[in-house]
């Protein structure tokens, strides 16, 4: 099997992803430079992962697709969780035993 070289891959797919739109879905602010760089790099990556189009999937049993085998659930009983003070110590801002954030809902 030949390990393909990235430079040999077509990069005509750079228009397929709108990086700024997707970054907004992911709640990441991007600078213009990052946006331009990611547009090119992600275009090449998406061009590559598109090779999955060639795979014959007729024989794949879609019923039990990668079902997590033997997912082992514990007994449904209450157990002691982590200490509130320990957890709040990692919060950027907290008050009265709660985490503080900017106002979310207008009055």
């Amino acid at each position: 099997m030949a390990i393909r070289s990235a430079s040999a891959m077509s990069s005509d797919r750079t228009e397929q992803i709108d990086v700024r739109y997707v970054a907004n879905l992911a709640r990441i602010e991007l600078s213009d430079e990052e946006c331009t760089m990611f547009q090119k790099q992600l275009g090449a990556i998406i061009g590559y992962i598109d090779t999955l189009k060639d795979v014959n999937l007729d024989t794949v049993d879609t019923e039990n697709l990668n079902a997590v085998e033997d997912n082992q659930l514990r007994e449904d009983i209450s157990i002691r969780s982590l200490d509130q003070d320990d957890l709040l110590r990692n919060a950027p801002e907290s008050a009265k035993g709660q985490i503080r954030v900017p106002k979310v809902v207008d009055a």
Binding site: A2, Q72, P102
Partner: protein, 475 residues
């Protein structure tokens, strides 16, 4: 011989006989870190004063009593920082709990004194994506140690750690072990609890040992494996002593060579080293069988859909609300998320979150994520078919020796393609180990290690450890 240069087994014998104390080991380690780590950069932090105190009270009757173990920076150790080598968590997070593997190490008497560098959130294969420190390869400081567990591998290789834990999502234990000339084991999915490992791609992640030799790898696996009610994907399993069958040899074993793993694109010098060790295994009585893993060529594409998809979901927890660094003066809550994540994440993490968000987004989900899950099942089936014919599979760990620092910095796809031999094991949930099988002399005269990968069936660690031990003895 310096204590820090010795294996767990060798040190344990001297501890039990009373020749040395655990504090002697910590002293030797402190000296090694002091003299080497400024150059190598394997550690993000350590507390050797606390380690000396732990050493004084260590219970030497326990399996790892008095032995210091280094921990990758994405595994929670109560009271220590856990930054995943990210600005997002740097200086802003102290673990409020122990990961299950850490609880097991403590119960076995190990001393947890330091945290090793890594690619940010385990995304990368050179450790250059760490936002906090630079780590170099101890065999050639102009080269990368590999990644993402590069700090753990470099620490063990430079003898500034006796042994370490890493995590492997697509090769992140085996590949740096190969580049650094140490032993790296990725256990089968479910063998080891993931509770307390900061999740990257939950269906692929496993914690495993990076050690100086195969016996230490088996010893650490004895301690860290086991089902755990805090991780529903961990498996209840009979307690096995993985060291017991290590010296049984390979005579009569059937070892498969996947023809897809020995084609073009591999450095011929790497292929020669791997073939030499295969010949030695054959001379020792193993039967070498050519096999086929027909969907190998789709593994990288499948992985780079599934892993970023899971990462985009897992890393949504880093939003600047509950932990980590929050941006100054957020205008409103969305602005808080967006700018905290902009500041906190490095480029590779952003790239993968955006890619993962894209493949999961409306209209693309079937074309990418669903399709990748189907191809994943075919890759899994390839291995199931192969293990009907062979006991274990042999291959290179990587197509090349450790690259120069900065070599593929601006070409992430080229870096991803080099993961070809390691990622299938994660997609299939099987176990794999990297064991040193020789060195190649670089143009500058450095001796660069090459690793042999041994892949075993799901929960087949005993078989691969036995083969790895034979390689270690024969090479």
């Amino acid at each position: 011989m310096e204590l820090s240069n010795q294996s767990i087994t060798a040190l344990r014998q001297q501890l039990i006989s009373g020749e040395i104390s655990s504090a002697d080991i910590i002293d030797s380690l402190a000296n090694a870190i002091d003299t080497k780590d400024a150059e190598i950069g394997a550690y993000l932090s350590h507390d050797l004063d606390a380690a000396i105190q732990d050493a004084k009270t260590a219970d030497l009757t326990l399996p790892l009593g008095g032995i210091p173990i280094a921990i990758k920076d994405n595994i929670n150790v109560k009271g220590q920082p856990c930054a995943c080598a990210s600005r997002f968590l740097e200086g802003a997070y102290t673990s409020p709990y122990d990961a299950t593997v850490i609880g097991k190490l403590r119960a076995a008497g190990a001393i947890l004194y330091g945290r090793t560098n890594m690619d940010e959130f385990a995304m990368g294969s050179t450790t250059e994506n760490s936002a906090l420190a630079n780590t170099v390869n101890p065999h050639d400081i102009t080269r990368v140690p590999g990644g993402s567990s590069g700090g753990s591998a470099a620490a063990v290789a430079s003898h500034s750690a006796i042994a370490a834990l890493g995590s492997d999502t697509g090769g992140s234990i085996r590949q740096p072990a190969s580049y650094c000339g140490v032993v790296g084991l990725k256990p089968s999915y479910g063998r080891v609890s993931r509770y307390g490992l900061v999740a990257f791609a939950s269906s692929l992640d496993q914690i495993g040992p990076i050690t100086q030799n195969v016996e230490d790898s088996a010893l650490l696996l004895n301690v860290i494996s086991g089902g755990d009610s805090a991780d529903s994907t961990s498996l209840d399993q009979a307690q096995v002593d993985f060291t017991e069958s290590l010296n049984d040899g390979v005579a009569g074993m059937k070892l498969g060579l996947p023809k897809e793993y020995f084609g073009d694109g591999i450095d011929p010098a790497v292929r020669d080293k791997v073939n030499e060790s295969i010949k030695k295994l054959e001379a020792a009585g193993a039967e070498i069988v050519e096999i086929s893993l027909p969907h190998t060529e789709y593994a990288v594409a499948t992985y780079y859909i599934i892993a970023p998809a899971e990462a985009s979901s897992n890393l949504s927890r880093f939003d600047g609300v509950r932990y980590g660094n929050r941006v100054e003066d957020p205008k409103e809550i969305i602005d808080l998320y967006r700018r905290s994540r902009e500041q906190g994440f490095g480029p590779e993490v952003k790239r993968r979150i955006i890619l993962g968000t894209y493949v999961l987004s409306s209209g693309y989900y079937d074309a990418y994520y669903n399709k990748a899950q189907k191809v994943r099942s075919l890759i899994k089936q390839d291995f199931a078919n192969a293990y009907k014919k062979v006991d274990a599979i042999l291959s290179p760990v990587t197509p090349n020796v450790a690259p120069k620092i900065g070599a593929d910095k601006d070409n992430p796809l080229q870096q991803y393609l080099a993961d070809i031999f390691t990622i299938s094991a994660n997609l299939a949930g099987i176990c794999g180990i990297s064991v040193p099988c020789g060195t190649i002399t670089s143009n500058s005269g450095s001796e660069l290690p090459v690793g042999l990968q041994i892949l075993g069936p799901h929960m087949g660690e005993q078989a691969i450890l036995k083969v790895a031990k034979s390689v270690e003895d024969l090479v």
